[in-house]
Amino acid sequence: MTCLPAHSDKKLGLVIDLDTCVGCQACVTACKEWNTGGHMAPLTDIDPYGGHVDGVWFNRVHSYEHTTEMGGRTVNFPRSCLHCETPACVTVCPTGASYKRVSDGIVLIDEDKCIGCKLCSWACPYGAREFDTDVGVMKKCTLCVDRIYNDNLAEEDRVPACVAACPTSARHFGDLGDPQSAVSQLVAERGGVDLMPELGYHPTNKYLPPRAHTQRAASVPAKALEPVRAEGGFLGWVDRMLSN
């Protein structure tokens, strides 16, 4: 059913720290590795070793240069489905393939119902849905539904693959509907934000903006290098002769 639930019991989602993300792409690879055998498998690659490689990925990491009056900095920015609370990707779906779960708020696609009309990908402002041209259906992040409830995994591994892989702990997973949860506390403490709030999709995932520039940066005591310029006169002649 593509009507949205009025309320979901939990709001499972990710909190992504733009301050600590180093853009190593570990989450991207871990996501692909898990999910190409997971719930939405396969994540088809087209022409993987050729000149026009293309394929389905649930998570992509961009790099931006953010320049303000405080100076500029590089910000690495992972982008994946935000499991929005009011996602038009679900309501536009004509077949009922797209749905939002009442139990935990995860937005999923039933691959057996999808007709590949692509309208949901037009309705998602964040580019979270990618079409699998090989299978003819739409695919997207599942928040690793097949990991987070998986009794065969050790307790600490029951998190999305991207969260498990991140070497700088820039990705956090939890219930954003519970104000007491660790992720909600983190969002409150760091001033986490919604992406494109003006569109009214109410994304569940939050992004933690980079911390403010600091004046306490270490100063560099070394003297500036001198310009290299050929010496003139007698000493210069000796230098040139000896250098030859």
């Binding site: 961009h62 038009a88 004509p94 077949t95 309208l119 998602c124 079409f131 569109l199």
Partner: protein
């Protein structure tokens, strides 16, 4: 947005088809146009043929067309599903209307009711098509109050120009329909100019800043996540150079509006059978012009995902 030919053709053909169907339903049902056998056969055949060809072409861009029937299920939330349901339901009164007109040679009584119901179905279907586009918030050029009226006006315009061509062709030309097709074409032209004016001045609140959550200053894309174009860029990252867009706008205006206006005006001055020539030409030229217009409707629409790619 990528202007896929199947979708461009679909909206142009079904728009003209439903416009013609609605006009035949109303004008036939109210006995304003005669229950002429050839008009019924060719007119309704053309209308239903355009609709069917458009619907078939739109299934051509589905990844799994064999499951297409599932698209009728989510009419409670989805405009695409509503469009599917409305288009299929409209075939019922339209078929009965055709039966009455062509086989029984009458357009009054139950046939008239079928005609009026077909006209209502046609208008509802065009509205659902318009709403598919008008409801998409990530595409500011579509998510505007200009989109839904545009679909209705263009359906009335292409439908009335087609109807006029048929009437003139069969030598039963009606001044009323001739005037209607002229006014509808002028209205279409005016609406398109107003839409372009509105879109050229759009101030879109969504920026690279709100897309990334990085407040203040400038956000410049340093590096994409991938080196080649992916689905997102192929489907939604389509860009058209400003100079091409200006040229194509001129071409669309010439073919869809200016030439048809001149040709329809010429029809006024000519006696039958000569009047049929400019009338038929007007319909053909306008259809080609509307294909260009619809191509631009996609090509000039900018999806918010392009912000992530610095486009």
């Amino acid at each position: 947005m990528h202007p896929a030919f199947s979708v461009v053709f679909f909206t142009t053909a079904t728009g003209a088809g439903y416009g013609l169907l609605a006009l035949l339903g109303v004008l036939g049902g109210l006995q304003i146009v005669p229950a002429d056998f050839w008009l019924g056969l060719v007119g309704l055949g053309l209308a239903l043929g355009l609709i069917a060809a458009g619907l078939l072409s739109s299934t051509g861009h589905l990844g799994r067309p064999e499951r297409g029937w599932r698209a009728f299920s989510q009419w409670r939330s989805s405009w695409l599903s509503r469009e599917g349901v409305a288009s299929v339901i409209t075939f019922i009164p339209a078929g009965l209307f055709g039966l009455g007109w062509v086989f029984f040679g009458r357009t009054e009584g139950w046939v008239a009711i079928a005609g009026l119901l077909a006209a209502i179905g046609a208008i509802v279907t065009v509205c659902t098509t318009g709403m598919i586009y008008a409801s998409l918030k990530p595409i500011a050029q579509w998510h505007s109050r200009y989109t839904l009226p545009a679909y209705l006006i263009f359906a009335a315009m292409t439908g009335s120009v087609l109807l006029n061509a048929l009437l003139q062709g069969f030598g039963i030309g009606s001044t009323g329909v001739l005037v209607l097709s002229l006014l509808a074409t002028l209205a279409g032209w005016g609406w398109k100019l107003a839409t372009w004016r509105h879109n050229d001045r759009l101030e879109i609140p969504t920026t690279a800043n709100t897309a990334t959550g990085l407040a203040g200053g400038t956000v410049r894309s340093l590096e994409w996540p991938h080196t080649e174009e992916n689905y997102l860029l192929k489907e939604m990252g389509f860009r058209i150079a400003r100079k091409h867009s200006a040229k194509l706008r001129m071409l669309a205006q010439a073919l869809a509006f200016a030439l048809p206006v001149l040709l329809i005006a010429a029809t006024f001055a000519l006696p039958w059978p000569y009047a049929a020539v400019p009338s038929v030409l007007a319909a053909i030229v306008q259809f080609a012009g509307m294909l260009v217009e619809r191509w631009l409707f996609f090509a000039e629409a900018k999806h918010t995902v392009t912000l992530y790619y610095g486009r």
